[in-house]
């Protein structure tokens, strides 16, 4: 499609090697700040002695603890019975608390976000298309949007008890609001010239909606989904802790507080951060680069990289 891809210029081996090295170094650049922070952490933690050391573990201690958390049940089982089957290996791994916490968060969050995305899109489209639903939802959403979704936790707990359902309701609700708002704005603000162009070719209303309004508002819809996901993430993690459920990364973090298990908390926090990063990479970036960025409706994320 693109003509900008010029045929590769033949290069000498040296140049190629150099290019490879610089590009690898270039790609690893986002990691440097973490290395710096970890180094500072390590030096500071090494100053701590005795009981203080337990509260401020070194980086290697955290890494070791992470390894221990993941493999402890497996190794204990292996000590009892050295010839476990392959399936038993996996089974035992899954008994490790940190993995259980992770898995619980890992399905609840995308599930809640998915519900929010579907309902939010439907409501947003209804608001954008029908004046009645617009005047119905706009005041509601405007009042609800500024309330941090976590504040609903006690009420939802009382209504629906402690458990997955509570976390899911709060997470989905938190992320539904910005998605509905964004879809509504997107549908309302589609460039009127596109609609006129379609009208001039005698497209009917339904066709215009399908072929012009939807693709035309995709940039807004996607950015709404992004905000929705961030909100879901925050609310979900908070609700896990406040709703008092047993399994979930932040539930685990609050548990670990009682045992002063700093290493566990750091590992869980790291996984939380990684999660958001992976969702961004596997969900939003591929969709965006295939649609709005390809169509020139949004500046490519990569373009910013190149300017730096």
């Amino acid at each position: 499609m693109q003509t900008s891809e010029a045929p590769p210029v033949p290069q000498s081996m040296d140049e190629k090697k150099k290019e490879l090295r610089t590009s690898l170094l270039f790609k690893l650049r986002p990691i440097y700040p973490f290395i710096v922070i970890l180094a500072i952490w390590q030096v500071a933690a090494m100053q701590a002695r005795g009981n203080q050391g337990r509260l401020f573990p070194t980086v290697d201690a955290i890494v070791y603890r992470a390894w221990e958390l993941v493999t402890d049940p497996l190794f204990r089982a292996l000590a009892e019975n050295p010839n476990l089957s392959f399936l038993d290996h996996i089974w035992k791994l899954l008994e490790s608390p940190i993995l259980l916490h992770t898995l619980n968060t890992a399905w609840r969050l995308p599930f809640s976000f998915f519900i929010a995305a579907v309902v939010g899109t439907i409501v947003g489209i209804m608001m954008g298309r029908f004046a009645f639903w617009e005047s119905f939802f706009v005041p509601l959403l405007s009042v609800l949007l500024p309330i941090p979704a976590i504040a609903w936790t006690p009420i939802v707990v009382i209504w629906s008890g402690i458990g997955d359902q509570t976390v899911i309701v709060i997470t989905a609700f938190a992320s539904f609001l910005p998605i509905a708002m964004a879809v509504w704005t997107g549908v309302k603000t589609v460039n009127p010239v596109w609609i006129r162009a379609a009208q001039s070719m005698n497209a009917d209303k339904m066709t215009i909606f399908r072929t012009v309004v939807l693709p035309g508002s995709l940039p807004m819809i996607l950015s709404g989904m992004r905000i929705g996901l961030a909100r879901a993430w925050r609310a979900g993690v908070g609700a896990e802790a406040f709703a008092g459920i047993r399994w979930g990364l932040s539930a685990g973090i609050f548990d670990a507080q009682e045992y002063l298990d700093i290493a566990f908390m750091m590992v869980a926090l790291g996984i939380l951060g990684l999660f958001g990063f992976v969702l961004e990479k596997v969900l939003f970036q591929p969709i965006e680069s295939r649609t709005v960025i390809r169509w020139g409706m949004m500046e490519a994320m990569g373009a910013q990289d190149k300017k730096v």
Binding site: R196, V212, P215, G296, M297
Partner: protein, 248 residues
Amino acid sequence: MVTKISIQNLRKIYDTPERRVHALEGVNLNIEDGEFICLVGLSGCGKTTLLNMLAGFVEITAGTITMDGKPLTQDYDKGVVFQEYALFPWRTARQNVEYGLEIRNVPEEERNRIALEYLRLVRLEDFADFFPHNLSGGMRQRVAVARAMAFDPQILLMDEPFGALDAQTREELQALTVDVWQKTKKTILYVTHNLSEAVYLGNRIVVFVPNPGRIREIVKVDLPRPRDDLAPEFIRLQRHVNDLIRDF
């Protein structure tokens, strides 16, 4: 010659809460089949309004427009080229040109063939699979022209289609427009601010004056094509139109 469009005693009043604008008054115009009509006049004299009424975007306050003797319906076939950039960014050049054919349920293969044919007409067949944002401004307007023509509309309405382009590109597209018009024999209504463009393109030039918007005079252009914009006769006509626009 057959009368294609007949406009009689057309009036347009925009009633907005803040003010009442008398945009057009007593407009009478007969347009023949296959004619190239240019509309010129100062800003605000109702050229876009007239075009929008012909396109069915704006309601008529009083008067009639008939086409082939029948009152104008909403959904007759007309191709519109807008001054703004109006291509769909999510469709390639060819998919943009295919849009009107899709609306008319033309089967896919034929759609493809016709779209390419019109892209060839505006000399963009090599760019069929480009998205608009990868095309230059002039190329985009050429795609827009191809899109407006691909479903074979009876008339073409163009509102300052090349106004935003640089002088060289504009001249090139003017020549292309004449070329396309001569090949397809469509009826074209073309709004422009540029008097040289009007004299270069039109069979007749309709001169509007404002407050309320009305026709001052209709100037016939009998110069042979291709026209030379430095010929004395060309310049004389251009000056004449210029005088008409300003002194009223």
